[in-house]
Amino acid sequence: MRGVSSYQQYMPEKAELQAFDEHLSSLRYAGMIQHALMPDEETLAGILRDYFILFLPRDIVSGDFYYAFSNRDYLCIAAGDCTGHGVPGALLSILGISFLNEILQAEKCMKANRVLNMMRERIMKALHQTGEKSGTKDSIDIALCIINQKTGEMQYAGANRPLVMIRNGELTEYKPDLMTIGLAPVEERAFKNNYLNTQKGDLFYLFSDGFPDQFGEKTNKKLKNKNFRKILENASSYTGMKDQKKYLENTFLEWRGNMPQVDDVLILGFKL
């Protein structure tokens, strides 16, 4: 049987299959560990009353991560996007999460821009980035919000990731600094701090670029930021955050169709 023999020559050896299974198993385990480092439902429910997280890693482990922390005075939320995806991105995300913990839990500084400054120093030191050619170029893009629980004032600082606010159906985008957390092409500058006066009912969205960078089956083109904003506006019309998540997920899947997912997708939405 000629077909069978030609087919058989492409079948992996049993040993190779076993190795592949073990590799997958390790990745799954790694995924569980990574997930454990991010705040779980119970923690998030204690911090954010009304929220959703749409988290669609491209692989088993993800280069995107979300973060939340609160104390008596402040509430901190972040969405990060590490260079690469899969294992390299996941390892960098673990660094990002642990540095955020270190900085915020020391409580020495509760200014969003200074947190990013300090995070950048730690990443650059950890990855031995000195600006010389031999160094790595890995970095993290992140949007960080810090809310004063007493006054309701929100600070936002962004490293290449914006913050979107929708108030009464009107969308406002807060632009980030065009700098990453890590070695930049040009000399590092301090991140800027943005102060927002919030109102009850305001909707906020932090997200990675996975969704807008996704190619659509029908057009074979990226969705792009402009269309993504429209989708966010549409989502905001749903009262329940869970419904918003469902809408966004369905929209993503519908847009993607049979196209492969190009990057990790993360959208963190919350309502004040």
């Binding site: 020495k108 650059m124 030191k125 000195t130 500058r189 301090a190």
Partner: protein, 758 residues
């Protein structure tokens, strides 16, 4: 109790020194020209202790002196020594770590010692509350008495009106008739009255009955009123008498001052009588005042309808409630018992004699010449009479020889001067017996003293004045330290005035040696008696108007020496020279001492970048440990200065040292000392990490530790790097806009601290 501050008012040339802190290390030095008032301060402190003054301390307006001393005590000590203080007073005493005592003099030159400060404020508040209570009661009481008097007056009026009515009815009616008229058994006369008259009469009778009834009810109060008036009159009389006696006393003082006669020696029976009357009148006045107050309170309870017995008990209770068992005077006397002994060193009053009979020493014959010095000598040698009862003269002589070596070695620890080229002096004593030629004294023992050098052996009186003074001084100090059970405050006026410069330095060494046991306050003109490393010990004394000897005395503490005149500061400037007024030290700006040159560069850069216009000159010390020396230098030069310290351990410890020894009060701390937030370990921590990397290090590596720690760990050339930053700033390569928000915020914080300096 340790003396830590004083305040002298109305004593000789001194109107008010204000509170002056003594040096925490127990040696305080008063410098100033002649006639500035330095000795007056010492005499004032002595008078505080002894209670005695003479006329010549009175100022021209004859205002009486008032001297206050503040003492440090351990927290809780005041409650230990004060029996049953009462809950509120106990709470106050338990938190106090200082106690103030004030001595006031009266026209008869007697004095009282009272607590002042917080304790007297509390006691006064009780007095005030008592006073307010009494005023309220007194006001009601006086109204009541007035009312009673009005009623009595009205009753008399009614009697007159009744008599009038009767007389109209029967002009011939005498007094007896009028009075009989009102007895119902008398008829006839009433019938002669008209209806109107009868009506008026009845009205009057009714009113009179009512008033009489009221007065009967107020009989007790009326009685109290009479007693009150009597006490009031007696008190006023006593006060009048006291005022007259005070005037007479003043006239006497003036007269004695003009005659230059001390009042104690004045033997005039009339004067003695005046004094006695004055003292008795004061006591009488206090008694009357107390009785009157008690009577007013008592009357208050009577007015409430209480019986005399009840009112008495309630009065006692009220007095217990309002008045503490302790007055300022009672507590003052109590705490004064624990005060250190204040001793004025009498210059040549205790010279070592050539010889003294042992019997005079044993019997304590103070009239014998040199007794005090001989006694001091034996105290130092730890000898008493039993030492000399050794039966074997050989053993005794050996013991004496051993002792002579020990004593001399101790003395030579301080006396560094030599006699001649290489000699050192030795003190020796010997025991001997009078020969037959001494008549009554034959065979009696005596002690003979020698001051030896390797050249010759001479009696003390054959030695120089300087040696004799130093000997006398050394022995007095050391013996006092050994003998006293209480702490001592030693006052020394111009010590070692006849000593050579080196010997004067030896005097300072003696002070250093004994300062743990004896607190020393001394005056001097000599630069050799001032330790330049310890300027915090200086108090400068000068006249307010330097050209007018009649102007009042002013005292300046070490931080105010900038206001002292050059003549006042001459002992300091003789040792330290004149200040260098160039780019560095400035006389018309505040000199800000910082830890080193690196900080100097960075602060200069910050001042340039922020455009700060304050009159500040940054002075770099070589190192943190040199900062106290810098402070001494600037104080000695009379320049205004302040110190900026950062949050590292070394500088925080230095801050505590400066607060305790130099600045002494919290007010002075904030004027002269800046300690930054502990987060800034050194000057470079004022920069954000990013600005530190960009502008100082010019590197891009990640830094996760404080900038100053990074500098230290990497052993970077700090001064060089920060001077490069200053250079870039001055050349305009780096401006305010090149620093980030965090750095700018820190710069503003620092500038605010600088603005806060006076």
């Amino acid at each position: 109790m340790k003396l830590c501050a004083f305040r002298i008012r109305n004593f000789r040339s001194i109107t008010d020194t204000g509170w002056q802190n003594l040096s925490a290390d127990n040696i305080t030095c008063l410098i100033g020209q002649n006639e500035s008032g330095k000795t007056s301060i010492l005499e004032g402190l002595r008078s505080f202790y002894t209670g005695s003054i003479s006329e010549d301390v009175l100022r021209s307006d004859l205002s009486l002196p008032e001297i206050s001393c503040r003492f440090n005590v351990n927290r809780g000590w005041l409650t230990e020594v004060t029996e049953n203080p009462g809950a509120e007073l106990k709470e106050l005493l338990s938190e106090l770590t200082t106690v103030e005592l004030t001595r006031n003099w009266l026209p008869d030159f007697s004095s009282t010692i009272k607590v002042s400060g917080r304790i007297s404020e509390y006691l006064n508040s009780l007095e005030n509350a008592w006073g307010l209570y009494l005023d309220e009661v007194k006001s009601k009481f006086e109204n009541e008495i007035e009312e009673i008097n009005r009623y009595k007056q009205r009753i008399e009026e009614i009697k007159s009106l009744k008599a009038e009515i009767i007389r109209k009815a029967d002009p011939s009616a005498g007094k007896g008739m009028v009075s009989r008229l009102f007895r119902r058994t008398q008829g006839g006369l009433i019938d002669r009255l008209s209806a109107d008259q009868r009506h008026s009469l009845n009205e009057l009778v009714r009113e009179e009955e009512s008033l009489n009834k009221t007065l009967t009810g107020k009989q007790v109060i009326a009685g109290a009123g009479i007693e009150y008036k009597s006490l009031l009159n007696k008190l006023e009389e006593t006060e009048r008498k006291l005022n007259e006696l005070e005037s007479i006393l003043e006239e006497y003082h003036q007269k004695m001052t003009l005659l230059l006669m001390p009042i104690e020696k004045h033997e005039d029976p009339e004067w003695t009588k005046v004094l006695e009357d004055f003292r008795n009148s004061r006591i009488e006045k206090e008694k009357l005042k107390s009785t009157l107050e008690s009577h007013i309170a008592f009357s208050g309870y009577l007015m409430e309808g209480r019986s005399a017995e009840e009112a008495q008990l309630l009065t006692l209770e009220a007095m217990r409630r309002y008045k503490s068992q302790y007055t300022s005077e009672i507590l003052g006397r109590k705490y004064f018992e624990y005060c250190p002994d204040v001793v004025m060193f009498e210059d040549f009053g205790s010279l070592l004699p050539n010889r003294i009979d042992l019997e005079d020493i044993i019997t304590g014959n103070e009239q014998v010449e040199g007794y005090k010095a001989a006694r001091n000598f034996l105290t130092l040698a730890k000898l008493d009479y039993s030492f000399f009862q050794q039966p074997s003269s050989r053993i005794l002589k050996q013991k004496i020889e051993n002792l002579n070596n020990t004593l001399t070695v101790n003395f030579q620890d301080f006396w560094q001067q030599s006699i001649g080229r290489n000699n050192k002096i030795k003190i020796q004593f010997e025991l001997d017996h009078y020969s037959l030629s001494f008549g009554d004294k034959a065979g009696k023992p005596y002690l003979e003293f020698w001051v030896k050098d390797s050249g010759e052996r001479l009696y003390p009186k054959q030695r120089s004045r300087g040696v004799r003074w130093f000997l006398s001084f050394y022995m007095e100090l050391k013996a006092s330290a050994m003998r006293s059970t209480k702490p001592i405050v030693l006052l020394v006026d111009e010590p070692g005035i006849s000593l050579h410069a080196r010997a004067q330095e030896d005097v300072l060494k003696v002070f250093e040696d004994i300062k743990d046991r004896i607190q020393i306050i001394y005056t001097t003109h000599s630069p050799h008696l001032v330790d330049v490393n310890k300027m915090h010990r200086i108090l400068a004394v000068q006249r307010d108007d330097l050209d007018n000897l009649k102007s009042t005395t002013r005292v300046l503490d070490p931080l105010e020496l900038a206001s002292a005149s050059p003549d006042t500061l001459s002992p300091l400037q003789n040792i330290m020279g004149n200040p260098h007024f160039s780019e560095g030290f400035a006389s018309n700006r505040l000199n800000l001492i910082v830890n080193d040159t690196g900080t100097f560069y960075l602060l200069s850069a910050i001042i340039h970048v922020t455009g700060f216009k304050g009159k500040i000159s940054i002075i770099p010390s070589t190192d943190v440990s040199s900062i106290p020396l810098m402070c001494n230098i600037l104080m000695g030069w009379g320049l205004k200065f302040a110190v900026l310290l950062f949050g590292n351990d070394k500088e925080r410890k230095l801050a505590e040292y400066l607060k305790e020894n130099l600045f002494k009060t919290e007010e002075k701390d904030s004027d002269y000392l800046i300690v930054t937030d502990p987060g800034f370990l050194n000057a470079e921590d004022l920069l954000s990490t990013l600005d530190f990397k960009n502008h100082v290090l010019k590197t891009r590596e990640g830094i996760t530790i404080p900038n100053s720690v990074y500098m230290e760990e990497k052993e970077l050339p700090r001064s060089f790097l920060l001077s490069r930053l200053l250079s870039d700033v001055r050349q305009g390569k780096i401006g305010a806009g090149d620093f980030d928000e965090e750095t700018n915020e820190n710069f503003r914080y620092l500038i605010d601290l600088l603005i806060g300096l006076k």
